[in-house]
Symmetry: C2
DNA sequence: GCAGTCAATGTAATCCTTTGCATTGTCGTC
DNA sequence: GACGACAATGCAAAGGATTACATTGACTGC
């Protein structure tokens, strides 16, 4: 019951071997003889020894930790992704650090700094807003192999990305509305400058063009993925003279705000106007009306990103230079917020 | 552009002082002369030195990290709390580790193990389901001061708790319904064995008794905080001969499922039946009808817990033995899901 | 002019593992 | 019977910071 916890020295003493042998017995069991190995295990039990991470990290020049950059932990969209990521690292000895880039944006050189001072071995960024300079700095330090993007990415920076096919999701949404008979389809976007915003808008407009549907300028309404922005969009739509019969929203949360605002304004969803979301968050199937949306497998996105990073950390030489793009499929989930347009 | 990053030795050489002086200049600037200090800072700039965390942790016998135990990262309820916690540690040098106890439950001795092998300095547990043995083990190791509970807690274990006044929240809900004229009030609980479930149910039943309201057994419906359980509860209520005119749900998510199920069964909320939730998650004000609920300041809960843990880590002697209970107030937020009972 | 004080700095031990290299002993082979 | 190969283990040097203790000078007060 000594206050100080057991060290490898203690184990070595009890097992009557050297510390080197203890170390080997634990991390590379085949290198030691059967009897010795057992003696060591026995001694470990007896002393309650656990390897000191700091010492190991110091010696091995690694951090045994990865950092997840999340734009805003407060958004329900991320929670399942994080659960996936954290599960992806569950059987490894990597600790998962989480940083909210909204509540505290990364300082200049902070990212590279975390690597240099041995706090982390790798990064999964859900934030496409990481500054290109920060990334360039990391790459110069030879840390390029240790960064993976998830969901979002940085245009022009050559890092591996795990994401869904956003444009395809948008196309699915438009096609669904078109099949129901809609021709007047509006879009509430995400925040300006966001890669998802761009991809979804692009998919939306290209499909609308392909189907030869009208595309007045004011049918593209600027939002920012928030419920509030959906609510604001509703007011704009209510005020339009030439009102669309359907709206495709860049996120489910936007759709909720939109529907709430439309109903408050006297329009019924889907009787008067159809709404499609994007993401299929948990709430969507229980919203009233249950939301028609584009589903992405968030849990899988998380585990996949974890796998990618693990690969790259395990074998820094593999797939060098080439960017492996993991694109995960999306699915249209039809529920109650879409219907044929009013006649 | 050497590949190896600068060490304190390099800085010492450049500044023409000893490593001890460099260390002091950085962590305890008053101890060195002005000129020396500047020379050191200059050398740090020049070499791009950053202190190696592993080495520092080894020497100082600390981990510079705290662990947050989250029952289920996938639940939107936690995201804002986590944002608060992470903000609470933002200006410290503590890294924030997050573990999902549902996707990977803690093994026996794992919690104490994290302390012993120097991975963490403290724990904030949002999970009241941590095994009492694990906690007892931590306490025996003298780690009792390093654990703080948040939102949930373990009955009988004497650790500091930051939480809201759950019973009071329940009472507020019942009083509100009573004031509207309701006498027949049911309750959908959280999962059995959960401390929040117990506290909220207790507040609900005691207030109902105080107001002399009827309390048939089947008006307490077992749920588990999930949307699905709310949906299931709706079926039970629809099947009742003696139907309540109002339902208080142990969580907003439950209320969503309930309302969705009730409407599907032909009952209108709040015209036919009123519903009150608990938590006031982001979605609640945009649900249709906007949800009347008990609001808790989740962000503040997070930052407060962080503060508590920091205090205890900084000064292990302070408030020793005595459990400081931080109870944060709750507020009734009246929206559109409650109305006088049908006449 | 000398003992004592104090500020500023240096020396070297310490934190605990991992691992390159050296050593020992066994066994098979020519 | 000598030698090489090889398995098993030990010795001791990293790895990079912090800090107790020692040292040096300058300065105070008598």
């Amino acid at each position: 019951m000594s206050h100080r916890s057991a060290t490898i020295q203690d184990v070595a003493r009890v097992a009557r071997v050297s510390t080197a042998t203890v170390s080997r017995a634990l991390s590379n069991p085949d290198l030691v003889a059967d009897g010795t190995r057992e003696a060591v295990f026995e001694a470990v039990q007896q002393t309650g020894y656990r390897v000191n991470q700091a010492a190991r990290n110091l010696r091995m020049r690694r951090a045994a930790a990865v950092l997840i950059l999340v734009p805003n932990l407060g958004k329900p969209f991320y929670s399942k992704i994080l659960a996936g990521v954290s599960e992806g690292f569950a059987n490894t000895d990597y600790a998962v650090l989480i940083a909210d880039t909204e509540s505290r944006p990364l300082q200049d050189g902070e990212l590279a700094g975390y690597f240099i001072d041995g706090r982390i071995d790798g990064v999964i960024s859900l934030d496409g807003g990481v500054s290109p300079q920060a990334l360039e700095q990391c790459r110069r330090q030879g840390l390029g192999e240790r960064i993976v993007f998830l969901c979002e990415w940085v245009e022009g920076a050559d890092f591996p990305v795990v994401c869904v096919d956003n444009a395809e999701g948008a196309r699915l949404a438009i096609r669904h509305l078109h099949a129901l008979g809609h021709r007047a389809i509006a879009h509430v976007t995400g925040p300006e400058g966001n890669v998802l915003t761009a991809a979804r808008r692009e998919g939306m407009t290209s499909e609308r063009a392909r189907l030869d549907l009208p595309a007045p300028e004011d049918w593209i309404i600027r939002g920012d993925f928030s419920v509030e922005s959906g609510h604001a969009a509703a007011r704009k739509i209510l005020a339009m003279s030439d009102r669309p019969t359907a709206v495709f929203c860049a996120a489910d949360t936007v759709a909720f705000g939109l529907i709430s605002g439309l109903q408050a304004g006297g329009l019924s969803v889907p009787a008067d106007i159809s709404v499609v979301g994007f993401d299929d968050i948990d709430m969507s199937q229980y919203y009233i009306p249950a939301l028609t949306t584009i589903s992405q497998d968030r849990h899988r996105l998380g585990t996949r990103a974890a796998e990618r990073l693990l690969e790259r950390l395990g074998n820094p030489l593999a797939s060098q230079g080439s960017t492996v793009n993991d694109v995960i499929g999306v699915q249209l989930v039809v529920r109650d917020s879409t219907a044929p347009p009013p006649t």
